[in-house]
């Protein structure tokens, strides 16, 4: 019997009043893979992600981590289970430096007695932060500059490093290159690959299909609250994905077209 997936979401249902956001969504993720989640606006991608990261509770279906069923009641619990989210707005404190952001909420204190008064061990944090940046091959000359002085791609790097530095197994990335230019997007895609190579499982929401095809190992299409198809990257094409996102696939097949 093959190893269970790192993460599995089975038949997830979610309702908001009379609006059905998810009606039987299925998703799974292995370690060391990038699994992209695509779909048109309102397809349910964000909702599914929020269920996985503990922001929302499902009304039906179940989540399994390494084969074990789990209930994730809030983002803090998700964190404890090793699930981190890198939000579209990055949630970085711009005035703090990369080390400050990396360790935000988890600061290293000086040994006692200074530690009892809350004194920070900045040297140790800077050292560790520089290491993490090197690990992920993010080029930042100084981890001691405020992150708002960094470029968009570097900020993304800091956000990912923060997500990854704490024994995380699953990173969820919401539109990672949405606000970036070409050069910076390439840098971020490289970063995603590097993260995957560390054995971490990445769920990536994106509208940018060329980039999806550039970095994803698997692609799942959502439409109207359901996960309608799941492919390995080499099993499909962008055109096919677009057809499935827009619901034109059925017509296409009926007209004699070949899938993918």
């Amino acid at each position: 019997m093959s190893e269970p997936a790192l993460l599995e979401a089975r038949d997830i249902e979610k309702r908001f009043g009379s609006v059905v956001a998810l009606r039987g969504a299925n998703f799974d993720l292995n370690s060391g893979e990038v699994h992209a989640l695509v779909g048109d606006n309102g397809a349910g991608k964000s909702t599914l992600i929020k269920v996985i990261s503990g922001v929302l509770q499902p009304d039906g279906g179940e989540l399994l981590l390494e084969g074990q069923p789990v209930r994730i009641h809030n983002p803090q619990e998700a964190r404890r289970l090793g699930i981190e989210t890198v939000y579209q707005d990055l949630a970085l404190a711009g005035h703090l430096d990369a080390a400050g952001n990396l360790f935000l909420g988890r600061e290293k204190l000086m040994p006692p007695p200074l530690g009892w008064l809350g004194f920070l061990d900045n040297k140790a944090m800077h050292r560790r932060a520089a290491e993490e940046m090197r690990h992920l091959k993010i080029g930042i000359k100084s981890v001691e500059r405020p992150v708002l002085t960094l470029s968009g791609g570097q900020r993304q790097g800091v956000a990912v490093a923060r997500a990854v530095a704490w024994g995380t197994r699953i990173v969820i990335m919401d539109e990672p290159t949405a606000a970036l230019g070409v050069r910076e997007s390439l840098m971020v895609l490289e970063l995603i690959r590097e993260t995957r190579n560390q054995g971490i499982g990445i769920v990536m929401i994106s509208h940018n299909l060329p980039e999806v095809f550039g970095v994803a190992d698997r692609i799942t299409v959502m439409r109207l609250g359901q996960t309608i198809a799941s492919f390995r990257r080499d099993e499909t094409s962008m055109e096919a994905i677009v057809r499935m996102m827009t619901g034109a696939e059925a017509q296409y097949l009926a007209a004699g077209g070949s899938p993918a």
Binding site: L96, G105, R106, E107, R193, G214
Partner: protein
């Protein structure tokens, strides 16, 4: 039909062209004042008044000691205000908390020092018990109001401006109620002579109190987790929350700290003048906020400087003192103080814009 593939290789690692940062202690020293320009400005003012005052009367130990004394209460309030503004909040109630704490502490002191007959004849037989009690009550009162500010801001989710505007009125009103609208009868003379007029190492006691507070606050803001959380919340409150920081609890602590410092300022005020004059503190909040902003802390939060605030607090008092010594027409003085501040802050903003290009 060919698939579009995105290029998968980046040519070189992405780097910013930044010079190597200077060694740590030097950097701490250089940025300690956050706002070096404002320090230069203050020194230039001191030099100006030294040169132009008759017999260089401005430049005397006696005068500097008094300037420091006159600034000590504003410094205490402005320290708290710095923390609040770094969280991207604001506290308008500082003067009111000062006054209420002074009145509360003073009333307790007088009440427990002796009978009414004794105290109205300036006899304070139980002063050694009453004075510490009064101080404790004053500090507790200040912290209590600060705590209330914090609770209202975090639970009612109202803008700090509105909340503290409300407590500003409440504290002055409550102080009026407690004191019956008049200045208090005089507090024990030993209290006044020690904390109010006493000197330690040649500096007036209130100055020492302010100095200790400055030192503690400097380290607190810059080198501790408390300071780090303060800046993080001001920089990105939502991000701080998502990082697991208990933002509400921290904000309550920050406002309570400010209340405590205002309570301390109230005790100092009581010691200096023997009583509380409510209307003299009506615009303390503006003085405190001005000190913080002139000192270089951004009103938008995220970054702040305690030493800058201290410099910012001194600029108006140095100006007023210099004007009185030089005999400038009193009706021009307010105008000149305001104009000088605008010039100082403008040049600083211009300098920063230059640097960030």
């Amino acid at each position: 039909m060919t698939q579009q593939t995105a290029p998968t290789q980046v040519e070189e690692p992405f780097e910013i062209e930044a010079p190597e940062a200077p060694p740590a202690p030097l950097r701490v020293a250089l940025t300690a004042f956050g706002n070096f320009w404002i320090l230069f400005f203050l020194l230039a003012l001191i030099a100006y008044f030294t040169i132009t005052s008759p017999n260089h009367a401005f430049f005397q130990g006696f005068n500097f000691k008094n300037i420091a004394l006159d600034t000590s209460e504003v410094i205490l309030m402005a320290i708290g205000e710095t923390f609040v503004i770094v969280t991207a909040g604001i506290d308008l109630s500082v003067g009111g908390i000062l006054v209420f704490s002074g009145v509360a502490g003073g009333l307790v002191m007088i009440h427990f020092s002796g009978t009414v007959a004794q105290t109205s004849n300036l006899q304070y037989p139980n002063a050694s018990v009453a004075i510490p009690l009064g101080i404790a009550v004053g500090l507790a009162a200040g912290s209590g109001w600060g705590l209330l500010n914090g609770l209202l801001v975090t639970t009612l989710r109202l803008p700090p401006f509105i909340v503290t505007l409300g407590t500003l009125g409440m504290t002055f009103g409550a102080a009026d109620l407690l004191s019956g609208g008049t200045n208090l009868a005089s507090v024990p003379t030993t209290f006044q002579n020690s904390l109010g007029n006493g000197t330690i190492l040649g500096l007036y006691a209130p100055v020492i109190v302010a100095l200790i507070a400055v030192i503690i606050a400097f380290f607190l803001l810059r080198f501790t987790r408390f300071g780090r959380y303060t800046a993080a919340i001001g920089s990105n409150e939502d991000g701080a929350r998502r990082s697991g920081i208990n933002v509400d609890l921290h904000l309550i602590k920050v406002y309570a700290l400010t209340g405590f410092l205002c309570g301390l300022a109230g005790i100092v005020d009581l010691a200096r003048f023997g009583t509380e004059n409510l209307s003299a503190h009506n615009t303390d909040n503006l003085d405190a906020i001005a000190a913080v902003v002139i000192g270089g802390t951004s009103l938008f939060g995220g970054v702040g400087t305690i030493l800058g605030t201290v410099v910012g607090a001194f600029i108006p008092t140095v100006l007023k003192n210099g004007f009185v010594i030089s005999g400038i027409d009193p009706f021009w003085q307010e105008l000149l103080v305001g104009a000088t501040i605008i010039v100082a802050v403008y040049i600083d903003q211009w300098r920063r814009r230059r640097l960030s290009k």
